[in-house]
Symmetry: C2
Subunit: 148 residues, 2 copies
């Protein structure tokens, strides 16, 4: 299958192909993010979107493993496309981020937890295991601004 074609991705996830889902998924495939639902609505030039549709699509996509939720502690949920492992290593592979608390700039970190971590946690016999790992702080640019 073509891992860049929204239609094929939706079909292989057993989801109905609708114009809205196609556009949303294409947006996430072409833009790294992560994005808030509000940002997605703003940035998607194609078509018009009801926020409820965005929220419902994100919930559906998350359940299908197509997107991942990102939390930075500022009260907003951010989403990004999550390629399946079979897609090989690209910029959609599992990773984490560093966000500036002031200007909200998000830097992608090509790291994840070491295997020992997961082995240790497997001992608890939890299924559907997920982890949230994100960093935040004040970026060099905003550090300068803060000095009056």
């Amino acid at each position: 299958m073509n891992h860049h074609d929204p239609d094929e991705i939706l079909k292989s996830a057993s989801l109905k192909v609708t114009e809205q889902r196609r556009v949303i998924l294409r947006f996430l495939l072409n833009n790294h993010g992560p994005f808030t639902v509000e940002e997605m609505k703003e940035l998607m030039s194609e078509g018009s979107f009801d926020l409820a549709t965005l929220y419902r699509s994100m919930a559906t996509f998350e359940e299908a493993g197509l997107v991942e939720k990102r939390l930075f502690g500022d009260g907003l949920v951010r989403w990004e496309y999550h390629a399946h492992s079979l897609c090989g290593h690209n910029h959609h592979t599992h990773h984490h981020h560093l966000m500036c608390q002031s200007c909200k700039t998000i830097t992608t970190l090509d790291i994840c937890l070491p295997p020992e971590f997961f082995k240790m946690i497997e001992a608890y016999n939890y299924t559907q295991l997920k982890h949230h790992l994100e960093f935040s702080g004040i970026c060099p640019e905003c550090q300068k601004k803060e000095v009056p």
Copy 2:
């Protein structure tokens, strides 16, 4: 100073000592958590608390470094007491958690990221660096329940 006395902790953080803050802090010192604001209101037997006071206290305590915010991706913010490093290693030392998405049981994991992680991130020159790391899944008990 006595690291178990709410009054002394508040004073050394340059915060005014009020009855509400005393009770909230004592609760967090005696109970590991993390707790949502709602849970804290329910569980604190002493006195009555307005939710606004709880929210404001948590914001104040966080700024003073007395508490840490915990995110598990279910849309709720949870708080727990955060001892300063000078307190030595106890159950309030920095750590992370594993939460069951179904029954919300929270297990404390006495782990944190390996030093290499932080070194790598220091290269970005961010100040006030924080990280959120939490695990979630379905616990063995709830796995049984799910079979109808």
